[in-house]
């Protein structure tokens, strides 16, 4: 499963994308954030305030409780500031 990061989430983690293979117990977007947080200080820093983290699966916004099964690409990023 490909995970991509943007803006300060990307900067804190120190990479723009990576492939991950979480265990089956990681079922939702929130689970995946929790699992990533265990991977190191830079992840813990990026996800330290889960409330402000936005997620998308395959280019569509999703909620923390959305299941990740079947996702090709999951994105994490801060609230958007376009326009």
């Amino acid at each position: 499963m490909k995970v991509v990061y943007f803006a300060w989430v990307r900067e804190r983690i120190g990479k723009a994308e990576e492939n991950v293979d979480p265990p089956p117990a990681v079922r939702t977007v929130a689970d995946l954030i929790g699992w990533l947080t265990q991977r190191g200080e830079q992840y813990a820093h990026a996800f330290e305030t889960p409330r402000v983290i936005r997620a998308a699966i395959d280019h569509a916004h999703v909620k923390p409780e959305t299941a990740i099964a079947g996702a090709r690409e999951i994105a994490f990023f801060p609230p958007m500031t376009g326009g």
Partner: protein
């Protein structure tokens, strides 16, 4: 009849007059054209800004803007719609975003343009980083923009 819809993400600047002309040329069924141009300001509050850099999520940005364009077409009787969003480094005074809406009547054109801007601000995957004398920092999202977008939610 299909409605012309143009969505472009680009580093280059755009020409508002050309975009208006593209939507209206040779047509006599358009009574109203509204344009919104979002421009990079030199300072928010006290600090002078040297430039903004816009990061975006390629693929999702097009998809998300496309979904909102479709929603605008379903909610208002538009005769044409153009959305252009720049990315990369932009200095004060330069354009950031353009929305052009055309309709036979003005209310539809105004409302669709406002709707699209409110959604672009809060749902399109773009992030602004400011450069100033103090260094660079990511622009915070504002609750004001969230409230502006929320007023379009269908009950």
């Amino acid at each position: 009849m299909s409605v012309p819809v143009t969505i472009r993400l680009q580093e280059a600047d755009f020409d508002t007059a050309r975009e208006i002309a593209a939507l209206t040329k040779g047509r006599t069924d358009i009574g109203a054209v509204v344009t919104f141009s979002g421009i990079c300001r030199g300072g928010e509050g006290g600090d002078a800004i040297a430039a903004l850099t816009l990061e975006h999520y390629p693929g999702m940005a097009e998809a998300e803007i496309g979904r909102h364009a479709e929603e605008a077409l379903s909610r208002w009787p538009l005769t044409g719609l153009t959305i252009i969003h720049r990315y990369g480094r932009i200095v004060p005074g330069e354009n950031i975003v353009l929305v052009v809406t055309a309709s036979s009547h003005r209310q539809a054109a105004f409302q669709a343009a406002e709707f699209l801007m409110d959604y672009l601000k809060t749902h399109a995957p773009f992030w602004k980083r400011e450069e100033s004398a103090a260094g660079t920092s990511w622009v915070d999202a504002t609750s004001h923009d969230d409230a502006a977008a929320a007023r379009w939610a269908k009950s």
